[in-house]
């Protein structure tokens, strides 16, 4: 018994001839169908290239169009010719002109000889498939498709809609259960001849002529009627991308293809010199009997589809610029924003850097410049510290920073004295962790030596800005994790609050606090707020501070007590 190859060819004829010759010279009969749209001289030239081979035949030519019956008709006549001319053929292998054998033909022959009754044809019911182009699966079999999907898409779609609305359906012939699967199969003579010589063939053909993409369903459905043993998989490695077009193999896939242990792969780029040279070379290695294992290639193509459909979160570039809400993450990683902490704790930045091991920046959005960690003038990715450049596109500034430091956790300070344009972006970013001690900006004012009238003006302005900022953080579409304390609330239990923040960031600061930052001296702060009130301003964001000191006995600049 021998395997025979039926080849459907429409382009890259030189390569097809090369592969046909390879099979034929190894003693395997080949029947070639050349698309009728290939012109006469080209066809004759192609034929001439193979005319020294006694076991190559050319079948009746059909003009093939993707998605319609002609491809099945071409396959039928080529298979009939194969079965009639080569009685020794036990399995018929359907291949295309861009297929290439990856393993010595003898290995395929041995594999099939061990499974003489098995039909290798991917054949699944319509409920099981999720890969169909245009979303049509069951409807392929019950609607009519007189228009070309490729050339008359609008008519195609409208006619489908019309039939759906009018609930027009066709009857599926009795006894048939529609199955779908890869076009590239390998059937036994028994099954194939039963399909081709079926007394009801005319009826079936008439039905399938109006089915959409019958080359993926005709043999797949009919083989279910006759086969005694179906292996529902293709021996041809052929992967389709998310648009339903086949992935192409190039020279740099050589090792991957070799290790896949598949028998045949498609589709090969016609100019992949190295692949054709290597795989069509006379056998250079010992025969192996490994099972085909396309897992690695599946993963490669799976990743490609993932990249094309979901992309890398937080990346904005020439090929990826998602509409608002389609980012799969506005930034590429989590980051923490601290508001008011440096006002309350003088050494907060250094402290949190020690506790968490994270990169801690100053006020990245300060009005005069960008305060990167360590006071750098340029940062990761060559981001400039120019405030003008940053404010030109604050969102890009932040997404760049987070993207450039993938794998690190950035922390930075923010406050009402900073440029506020970034607020909405951060509020709607799931990756932002924002901790606010509201009203803490009043502490440096309290400690400053400025003229009181000026202080009042500044305080009023900062309070207005912070109030608007807090409103934004509290709005319905906020996705950031936001924690807001008033200053009074926070200092009631500073250690517990700091611990909560550290726990949230994670990292190395998991243990109980043993070292705490230095808290600013707040004695007399209540009176300071009262003075602001007396001057006609209403400081409210910091919460309630008693005017009468109850903490006067505390030493100045104290560290808060540890929570045991």
């Amino acid at each position: 018994m021998s395997v025979g190859f039926v080849m459907l060819v429409h382009e890259a004829l030189d390569r097809a001839a090369q592969v046909a010759r390879h099979w034929a010279e190894h003693g395997k009969p080949v029947v070639i169908h050349v698309d009728k749209r290939v012109d006469g001289p080209t066809f004759e030239y192609f034929k001439g290239k193979l005319n020294d081979l006694g076991n190559v035949r050319f079948s009746e030519r059909h003009a093939c169009e993707w998605g319609n019956w002609s491809i099945v008709a071409a396959t039928q006549s080529a298979c009939e010719l194969m079965l009639d001319s080569f009685p020794e053929v036990g399995h018929v292998y359907l291949a295309s002109g861009s297929c290439m054998p990856l393993r010595p033909i003898q290995e395929l022959q041995t594999y099939l000889d061990k499974r003489p009754r098995t039909d290798f044809i991917e054949s699944v019911t319509t409920d099981e498939v999720d890969w169909t182009v245009g979303g049509l699966d069951q409807e392929r079999f019950t609607l009519r498709f007189p228009f070309s999907w490729k050339k008359q898409r609008r008519l195609f779609d409208r006619y489908v809609d019309l039939q759906r609305r009018l609930k027009l359906t066709r009857r599926i012939p009795d006894g048939l259960t529609p199955h779908l699967g890869s076009q590239w199969w390998c059937l036994t003579r028994r099954t194939l001849s039963a399909i081709l010589q079926d007394p009801r063939r005319e009826e079936f053909d008439r039905y399938f002529k109006r089915v959409w993409i019958p080359d993926e369903s005709y043999f797949q459905t009919l083989s279910r009627l006759y086969s005694t043993k179906i292996e529902s998989r293709s021996l041809t490695l052929s992967k389709f991308d998310f648009q339903g077009k086949p992935h192409v193999f190039y020279d740099d896939h050589l090792q991957l293809l070799r290790r896949s242990d598949c028998f045949v792969a498609r589709k090969i780029w016609p100019k992949a010199e190295r692949l054709y040279r290597d795989f069509l070379a006379p056998e250079a290695r010992a025969l192996t009997m490994a099972e085909p294992n396309p897992l690695k290639i599946d993963r490669l193509f799976g990743r490609a589809t993932e990249r094309r459909t979901r992309g890398r979160a937080g990346l904005y570039m020439q090929g990826r610029f998602p509409n608002e809400g389609w980012e799969n993450g506005k930034t590429s990683g989590r980051y923490s924003v601290f508001e008011g902490f440096t006002d309350l704790f003088a050494d907060f930045e250094a402290w949190i850097a020690r506790r968490t091991g994270n990169r801690v920046h100053g006020n990245l959005f300060a009005k005069d410049r960008v305060y990167f960690a360590g006071g750098d003038s340029v940062y990761n990715g060559a981001i400039s510290d120019s405030a003008v450049l940053r404010d030109y596109n604050p969102g890009a500034f932040l997404t760049n920073l987070i993207w450039n430091t993938r794998g690190e956790h950035q922390c930075f300070q923010f406050g009402p004295a900073d440029d506020q344009k970034i607020t909405e972006f951060m509020a709607t970013d799931r990756n932002a962790h924002i901790s606010v001690i509201s009203g803490a900006w009043a502490i440096p004012l309290f400690h400053s030596n400025q003229n009181f009238a000026d202080l009042r003006k500044v305080a009023a302005q900062l309070q207005r800005i912070e109030a608007a900022h807090l409103d934004l953080l509290r709005m319905g579409k906020t996705k950031a994790r936001v924690r807001i304390w008033s200053l009074a609330e926070f200092i009631e239990n500073p250690m517990e609050n700091l611990q909560t923040i550290l726990d949230e960031i994670g990292g190395i600061g998991q243990r109980r606090l043993t070292e705490v930052p230095m808290m600013a001296d707040l004695s007399g702060f209540g009176q300071f707020l009262q003075n602001l009130k007396n001057q006609g301003m209403s400081p409210h964001l910091m919460g309630d501070f008693p005017v009468i000191e109850d903490t006067s006995e505390k030493p100045k600049g104290s560290r808060p007590r540890l929570v045991k």
Partner: protein
């Protein structure tokens, strides 16, 4: 020109006095798989035309007309593309621009265009990456035939700002060392870095402004808007070599460049100080995979 057959990828370029850069430029693109080159020589007097005429796969057209009035060479190339580019993939670049696309070290540009054809894609986007030397620009002396990226081999990896142009639908990308160094106080005027250099040409198409955008505007949608990544490349811009100081003063005198040569004015004042664009976060160019990991280009679903 008679040798051009269907399926050939063609290159179009306007230049002036680029004799020294040409041997490497042509070699680079020949090896990439470009079948035929079209040059418009705008009044060179350094032997550029003579050199080009001696190449078998080059067609050269000579003009002394105004670069500015031909919309910075766009009109000249437009005519050539209309006449010779119809139905071909056409790559439009300057003599100091080097295209890098996914797998360019193992696959020819024909592999890319075949794949784009099969995917029904008509245009291919890239970001222009300004390349610079480590040290003052005057120290990067370029000799004919050399790989300019060996001398100016550094780039900024992550400081690009993107906006969408709602009229032409293209992305407007700015940033890199020029924005950082020359336009830090006036970023709006920083040069555009979005480029669509590779297009399956049709005689109805037209570049609007340099190769930044095209009409019809559907061609400008080289980016995905639903979160995915479309296959894209980088255009390595080896402008900052020792020849630029002389070049910018010459170009400034001619006043033939965009926006009253604003860019060249800024360079010239900046360049006369012989700046060092390099910083400790500059990235040294290795290969396309590095650019893909950095997120400057994407394989998309080409595997």
């Amino acid at each position: 020109m008679d040798q051009i057959t269907s399926g050939d990828v063609l290159l179009f370029c306007t230049l002036r006095n680029e004799r020294a850069r040409l041997p490497y430029f042509i070699k680079y693109y020949r090896e990439m798989g470009i079948s035929h080159f079209f040059f418009v020589d705008n009044g060179s007097d350094d032997g550029t035309s003579e050199y080009l005429q001696a190449q078998a796969d080059v067609s050269v057209f000579y003009t002394e007309h105004s670069y500015k009035r031909s919309r910075y060479g766009v009109d000249w190339l437009q005519w050539l593309q209309r006449r010779f580019g119809h139905g071909h993939w056409c790559l439009t670049v300057d003599a100091d621009e080097f295209l890098v696309y996914p797998y360019c070290d193992t696959r020819s540009i024909k592999a890319l265009t075949d794949w784009l054809d099969a995917s029904s894609v008509r245009s291919f986007g890239s970001i222009m990456l300004d390349m610079y030397p480590k040290g003052p620009i005057s120290s990067a002396v370029y000799c004919e035939g050399e790989d300019p990226l060996k001398i100016a081999g550094w780039f900024d990896s992550g400081n690009y700002m993107i906006e969408r142009n709602n009229y032409y639908w293209n992305l407007w990308i700015q940033g890199g060392p020029r924005a950082r160094h020359f336009f830090a106080e006036d970023p709006k005027r920083a040069p555009a870095l979005n480029k669509i250099p590779l297009v399956k040409w049709d005689r109805r198409y037209a570049y609007v402004s340099s190769t930044h955008m095209l009409l019809p505007r559907g061609l400008n949608l080289v980016y995905d808007q639903l979160g995915g990544e479309k296959t894209s490349g980088c255009l390595l811009h080896a402008k900052f070599l020792s020849t630029i100081e002389q070049k910018s003063s010459e170009e400034l005198k001619r006043n033939e460049h965009f926006a009253n040569s604003h860019e060249y004015k800024a360079y010239h004042s900046g360049l006369s100080e012989d700046p060092d664009l390099w910083c400790k976060w500059s990235e040294k160019y290795i290969n396309w995979r590095q650019l893909e990991i950095l997120g400057l280009m994407s394989k998309g679903n080409w595997a």
